[in-house]
């Protein structure tokens, strides 16, 4: 029995973190143009506040919220709006996007700094976070201020910062913790204050000793914040797994972390919260890991939101000969791309390029052989095999009755399936055909 905290089941994929884990965060070059989709988050899309021909500055609001669960968008460069139209995005949808051509000056708007942010009230903090357009930066992109405003009957007693980064290849959160530990801790303290919570935790997988060390020294004089080394296992960084590992609490079926009194935020989100509250800086850039055997010079880069993936890849030396697959996000939960002309958005944690020898085809899958491997690894304790069969045969209602909607598409089942069945796609298909 190891002493490190963990959850039940899960898988041990090859991590390949060494490709980029030693690369410090470099600033990406000023892009010539950016494409900012109005919908980078879960919830109502933002409404464009500019028209073609408008001059905008860095940090200026170009799209405003249209509902409670929504998030504004900002320009990450200064320049001129040249188009507002539908463009492809990394999640595979065509989304209305605002295209801005750089004027090369990179002029910022005036940010409202708060040197004495410790005195701000929880409501002020939430307003600052909302206006900065901060969303969950682990990938799901749920508006952060909404997560920080739970209904009254849900008592929150714990904030967990997610530094697990269990996705293979990705090292963005790792580098962030190693290089900016103080800022992350300040972000956590702000989040704790906005929720009125006394207890803070930071969970980091054990394969990032330098990050654990850096975070430990950053919280040396904080009594309420605890660092948790976690077992290296996928999906350790899924919020329900993280709560299970650190607090030993199990989120009920169809429930949310707030049902067990916990709020989980990504490391990147904590940093963005700090920058928004302290410096008034909106979410206009994020750390992206550009990695994989298909990329010439893997790197961790601070990329402006809206920069095209092709631009970023070019700055990393381009693709190697025989690169076959480009994925936005990690290899487990990311989205394969068909064009590189899609923008980096708030939820883009990585750009992964796979060379041919790494790539596994799932084109020729067979019928389920009922080996039960997927049942052994499903972190939610579901029966993926029967769900996939229901989806394959069109019995979507039966899939729903077997807790289809508790599946968060981590891909562990697809990873272990000896029949190479596209399990996650089956789940998505079934979810698209029935109402939750």
């Amino acid at each position: 029995m190891s002493k490190t905290a963990t959850f039940e089941r899960g898988i041990h994929p090859k991590y390949h973190k060494e490709l980029a884990s030693e690369k410090s965060i470099a600033r990406a070059a000023l892009p010539d143009r950016i494409v900012v989709p109005v919908s980078q988050h879960i919830g109502a899309p933002a409404k464009p506040e500019v028209v073609i021909g408008d001059e905008v500055k860095r940090g200026q609001v170009i799209g405003s919220t249209t509902g409670f669960v929504s998030s504004p968008i900002h320009s990450s460069i200064s320049g001129k709006v040249i188009a507002i139209a539908d463009f492809p995005t990394s999640v595979g949808k065509m989304v209305q996007s605002i295209v801005i051509e750089s004027d090369g000056k990179d002029e910022p708007v005036v940010f409202n700094e708060n040197p004495d942010y410790a005195g701000l009230s929880p409501d002020d903090i939430k307003t600052l976070i909302k206006d900065a357009g901060i969303v969950g930066m682990g990938g799901a992109a749920f508006p952060t201020n909404v997560k920080l405003s739970p209904p009254k009957e849900k008592r929150i007693d714990t904030v967990i910062i997610n530094g697990a980064e269990c996705e293979p290849y990705l090292t963005a959160d790792h580098r962030l913790m190693a290089e900016h530990p103080k800022e992350v801790v300040e972000g956590l303290k702000i989040i704790m204050k906005s929720l009125g919570v006394k207890e803070g935790h930071i969970g980091i997988e054990e394969n990032k000793p330098d990050a654990i060390e850096a975070m430990r020294s950053a919280v040396a004089c904080e009594t309420d914040i605890k660092i948790w080394p976690l077992e290296v296992k996928y999906p350790q960084g899924a919020e329900k797994m993280l709560i299970r590992a650190i607090k030993g609490r199990e989120v009920p079926s169809k429930g949310l972390p707030m049902d067990v009194g916990a709020v989980v935020q990504n490391v990147g989100t904590a940093l963005a919260v700090y920058e928004a509250v302290r410096f008034g800086k909106p979410l206009i850039e994020r750390v992206v890991t550009i990695t994989g055997t298909g990329i010439k010079e893997p790197a961790n880069m601070m990329v402006r939101i809206g920069t095209l993936m092709s631009d970023v890849i070019e700055q990393c030396g381009g693709l190697v000969e025989g690169a076959v697959k480009v994925i936005s996000g990690g290899p487990m939960m990311g989205f394969a791309q068909w064009t590189l002309d899609v923008p980096v958005v708030k939820g883009t944690s990585g750009i992964l390029v796979m060379a041919h020898d790494e790539y596994v085809s799932s084109d020729e899958y067979s019928a389920c052989i009922r080996c039960g491997s997927c049942i052994d690894v499903c972190p939610m304790g579901l029966n993926p095999s029967i769900l996939s069969i229901y989806a394959e045969k069109g019995f979507f209602e039966d899939a729903k009755e077997n807790n289809l909607f508790d599946c968060f598409e981590c891909g562990s089942c697809a990873y272990v399936c000896p029949a190479k069945r596209p399990m996650v796609q089956f789940m998505r298909l079934a979810k698209s055909q029935v109402k939750p």
Binding site: W338, S361, E392, P422, Q425, R428, L429
Partner: protein
């Protein structure tokens, strides 16, 4: 309809017989006013009495039922049933009537309704309907819908290599499908599998 009538008749018969058996036994046993209670029961006599009583009553009710069946019978052309039996029973409405039964009635009774309207049934059904109704079946070219753009799998470009569930509903979830043309048929044959009458087929 005949089945149902039979069932009702049997039910009525059983209920009546039961009631009568009970009443006649009671009568015979002398339960009720004015008759002395017997001390012994003659079984043979009881059975005879009951049988006669039953036969008499059932004859009366039987005649009543038979009369009612004749008097209130719904007249229906037997050809309607015959036509109904040969239709495809997809209830698709392609003939222009609400369902197969309505088409069967109309094609028998209305001389203007053509026997060739059952599209899922095809030529065999049309012939059978024409034979039953005595109408002339006009030879018609089968009308087949085709994707007019001709953008089949051989001509339309694919934006990327799609791997995964061979189903259009699933393929559309991956960046809107791999076809270069966003309006074009994806070609994974979900529609072909959904149609039980073979109305749709994938060719190229």
């Amino acid at each position: 309809m005949i089945d149902l009538n039979n069932r009702v008749k049997i039910l009525v018969f059983i209920v009546t017989a039961g009631l009568l058996l009970f009443c006649s036994s009671a009568l015979y046993a002398g339960v009720g006013g004015g008759v002395e209670v017997r001390e012994t029961v003659d079984l043979i006599e009881l059975v005879e009495f009951t049988a006669v009583f039953l036969l008499g009553i059932s004859a009366v009710f039987g005649m009543g039922l038979a009369f009612a069946a004749k008097k209130f019978a719904v007249k229906e052309d037997p050809r309607v049933d015959q036509v109904s039996d040969v239709l495809a029973h997809a209830h698709c409405g392609a003939c222009g009537f609400p369902g197969c039964r309505q088409y069967a009635e109309q094609v028998v009774l209305n001389p203007d309704v053509k026997p060739t309207l059952c599209t899922p049934g095809g030529e065999a059904t049309a012939e059978a309907v024409a034979r039953i109704t005595g109408k002339v079946m006009e030879q018609t070219e089968p009308r087949i819908a085709r994707v007019f753009c001709q953008g089949g799998c051989t001509k339309s470009v694919r934006r990327f290599k799609y791997e995964g569930v061979k189903d259009c509903k699933a393929a559309i979830l991956a960046s809107g499908g791999d076809k270069g043309c966003i309006y074009g048929c994806l070609g994974y044959g979900s529609c072909e599998r959904a149609c039980p009458f073979g109305a749709i087929s994938m060719n190229d």
